[in-house]
Symmetry: C2
Subunit: 243 residues, 2 copies
DNA sequence: CTGTAGCAACTTGTATACTAGAATACATGT
DNA sequence: ACATGTATTCTAGTATACAAGTTGCTACAG
């Protein structure tokens, strides 16, 4: 325990900035699942994924570990791995998480929003509008994410975003089961505008109400989609496997 | 994509029940950190941990991945790994998460609590009382965890517990920097009793208020401890590294 | 034709070997 | 004495090899 050579103990290390293979694989796989390219119940194999991506099993395993913690996959030791069936209870809990947290953070954001921040928000809304008219759905989803993220950041509770993002992943997964159409995007943009308006006007109560209205609308469409794709759902008893 | 031998696609696999080495290591390391046995800033090494536990690096790596996702450690590629310094902003965010979520879930629990559930809660309180008079602090912490967990479960939002548990980990870490004394435990038990009373009496408003009161008291002691151990904290700019 | 035992091919879990990078120790020059 | 270049030794990331276990097909017995 004495004079080992290693790096300094109390000083900080260089920077983290880790663009590792494992992280790339993780983000790749996460998108496949959240965007519905890989459907619930679909079988996965570490070997097969590794081969198809041209890497070894090790980074794929790391990605699987992280996906498992987000409850996006289920790993059955020595048997196999599947994309998590959609547990309706888990989806509802995710909605609960999102609504509970984002309604509070957006109110905080409305209390402390600066002019620059308000401008950044309006800028994102403008981009969303353009996606809407151009029908660029994928980009819209990205800007949607960015806006919600920025709102949490403005609230000063940045650590909350990780939770919201995970919950959002579960919800988006359901949403992507169904083709989205332009009217749907239009409505979302309008609701976003209402939220941003309140935030920019420093109206916490209004912002919270607008956010709640928005999230509940999103959830309604999710429930509708759930009924149309009952085969991807499981009744109950699904292990969450958070260990 | 045709007739591979593998297991059935739509049927479920056996059961998960995975008591793997990696999980054991993870829980072991998590306790070391949360309970303060390993202090913030302390250096870790995959090799050294693997040797000391008599396993290979692989399960240790898996544990490290999970600890990293809980923000309990920081991994600097090719340099080293340290127990996360305590970021006061992150601690505050954890408190925010806990208070926001548990105050809502306890209100839900108060709405739907059955007689059996109420009895289970009272039983846990009784055990806590015994720990209090016997001075068995470690057991008290366990029952504390169990009670909060049960309350979330009763609320019907079981997926919320994972979030609360992670946040609680961050908070407990700070709490364990300071020796806890019996009067502190006594006050906690009293506050717990107040919460459970409201839940058993089906009083959502009261339960929420009691929970908020309780959590804020806990947080106050955390802030006091933070001031006494400023050396374990870092000022700002700490990478959360959630990637 | 039916049921069962066993084998073969797959799965994930673990251990080991190798790579590239980072940080200290030390020797060497000034 | 001090600065600097080099070498050693650590680090985590990745690749591969091996072990333990499960699944489903198949061949064989009834």
């Amino acid at each position: 325990m004495a004079s080992r050579p290693g790096p300094a103990f109390d000083k900080h290390f260089v920077r983290s900035a880790a663009p590792s293979t494992a992280t790339d694989v993780f983000q790749h796989l996460r998108e496949k699942i959240v965007r519905g390219e890989w459907v619930p119940g679909q079988r996965l194999s570490e070997n097969e994924v590794a081969r198809s991506l041209g890497v070894s099993r090790t980074p794929v395993r790391e990605a699987f570990i992280r996906l498992r913690q987000e409850a996006l996959i289920r790993v059955y030791p020595q048997s196999g791995t599947v994309v998590s069936p959609i547990d309706l209870a888990e989806v509802e809990d995710s909605q609960f998480l999102r609504e509970t947290l984002e309604c509070r953070t957006v109110a905080l954001a409305a209390e402390s929003c600066t002019a620059e921040q308000a401008e950044a928000l309006c800028d994102l809304i403008e981009r969303q509008r353009r996606c809407c008219v151009a029908g660029r759905e994928a980009d819209f989803v990205a800007f949607d994410d960015e806006m919600h993220h920025l709102l949490v950041t403005i609230s000063g509770r940045k650590a909350v975003w990780r939770v919201v993002r995970d919950a959002k992943g579960q919800l988006d997964r359901v949403r992507h089961l169904s083709l989205q159409n332009v009217p749907w995007i239009e409505r979302n943009v309008r609701e976003h505008e209402a939220i941003i308006d309140c935030v920019a006007r420093r109206d916490p109560k209004g912002a919270e109400a607008a956010m709640r209205h928005h999230l509940r609308n999103v959830f309604q469409s999710i429930e509708r989609i759930a009924q149309e794709h009952a085969d991807f759902f499981e009744s109950a008893g699904g292990r969450t496997e958070t260990a």
